[in-house]
Symmetry: C2
Subunit: 283 residues, 2 copies
Amino acid sequence: MSKFGGIEAGGTKFVCAVGSGPGDLDSVEIPTTGPEETIGRVLDFFGRHGRVEVVGIGSFGPIDPVPESATFGYITSTPKLAWRNFDLAGAIREGLRVKVAFDTDVNAAALGEFRWGAAQGLHTFLYLTVGTGVGGGGMVNGGLLHGHRHPEMGHMRVPHDRERDPFPGNCPYHGDCLEGLAAAPAMEARWGRLPHELPADHPAWELEAHYLALGIANLTLALSPQRVVVGGGILRHEQLYPMVRAKVATLLNGYVATPEIVPPGLGGRAGVLGAIALGQAIL
Amino acid sequence: MSKFGGIEAGGTKFVCAVGSGPGDLDSVEIPTTGPEETIGRVLDFFGRHGRVEVVGIGSFGPIDPVPESATFGYITSTPKLAWRNFDLAGAIREGLRVKVAFDTDVNAAALGEFRWGAAQGLHTFLYLTVGTGVGGGGMVNGGLLHGHRHPEMGHMRVPHDRERDPFPGNCPYHGDCLEGLAAAPAMEARWGRLPHELPADHPAWELEAHYLALGIANLTLALSPQRVVVGGGILRHEQLYPMVRAKVATLLNGYVATPEIVPPGLGGRAGVLGAIALGQAIL
């Protein structure tokens, strides 16, 4: 039986796995340090698991996922300087002498949810993650969303009422884009505490739900998804789901239908399972 | 040789045509009044042109473009009460006894631009129109963008600085969504003059370019289009194009590439030619 490898390459950790789906996954987490050390530990992991036929990689970005491009497989304009213009797919391909599939972390997670999770049977849906950043991927007409390169949904501008929320936003590129207002570092900077230290009735959650609803409403109007799967560390605060659903409905105001807004069926494993599925798709 | 019919069903006029492409189009404009009178005149036009095999319809909306749906072919929640829940595709199908293809006006225009205009050879692009409303359609991975029903890109929320622009917005559903701030009726309400009465150096155009750039930047981040084709009556004020391009680049700030922003290659005929192409696609 074929063995498949998957890598969820994140800004804080790499999750590596060997297996064929949710039932037989053997995985490890490696903290993200510099490329050389991190890739060395990734290669060690796969070296210990015998030969895999293909490795799928879902990577933090921005990346170049266009196979025809000269920089296919690279992490490109990331603010993480050590990883900028790093040939991640090439390092895995050459280090393990395998075929490599390469996409964004969020498209990988979307594919994982499509195969085994909360997006089965759909043709057009979004997968959003809200944690150290805000990212989005998904499918349109049954194909993963790429376009020119790939979406960067977290960097959309949304209304920001500075009387209600004087925090100026902390995205180094855009200031008060959605990520600059609603990712975990923004919550920490605004309230002076880590998100998990904020009690469930703290006004932080109402404001967080407000920004996430603005983002989801805009994406609903842009893409008409059948469903929106939302995960990431911030959404472990499950009180957000009903608040976000109600606010999206209010914002759309009946003009278009409110999509279902649900947690990932695969929980925190959507990314690495999706990476496995990315690899399976090119065999 | 086959003859094809096309209808661009707009809120102010219906453009009807018979032909097979830009070189042989025979068209007429019919003002949009009530459904009975308007459809009667549409049927008269096609009656005078002999038998067509298929009629493609690109309609104002919201509509139901899902063939499996019980209300396929209907105009649904439009604020135009006489047209609400009107079976437009059915009226044409039964009135002319032809096959009918049905989509949004903006998806039809996108298809027209893909076949004969400014989007040839692309797989992922947007077509936006800015006139009495703001609408958007396009293709992703080579297929027209539908999703659950269809996008309503003009109704996205964008930042609205009420100190700079105290106009509250005039969308009956959302107040200061993009359409409520940037469509022609918003310009008229804000400045007390029709857009074509505003001189090219009036500050109205700078503000208009600002809102359009916010919308296009957000859509670029949501969908990563290779190109954005922007038409409609407001864009006849061609000074907007360079202003919008510069502002989109400033907003994206190098994080992702700025897409090309261009006028429709087919000018005002994109919609009706796209309707012809919609019909050709189902034969």
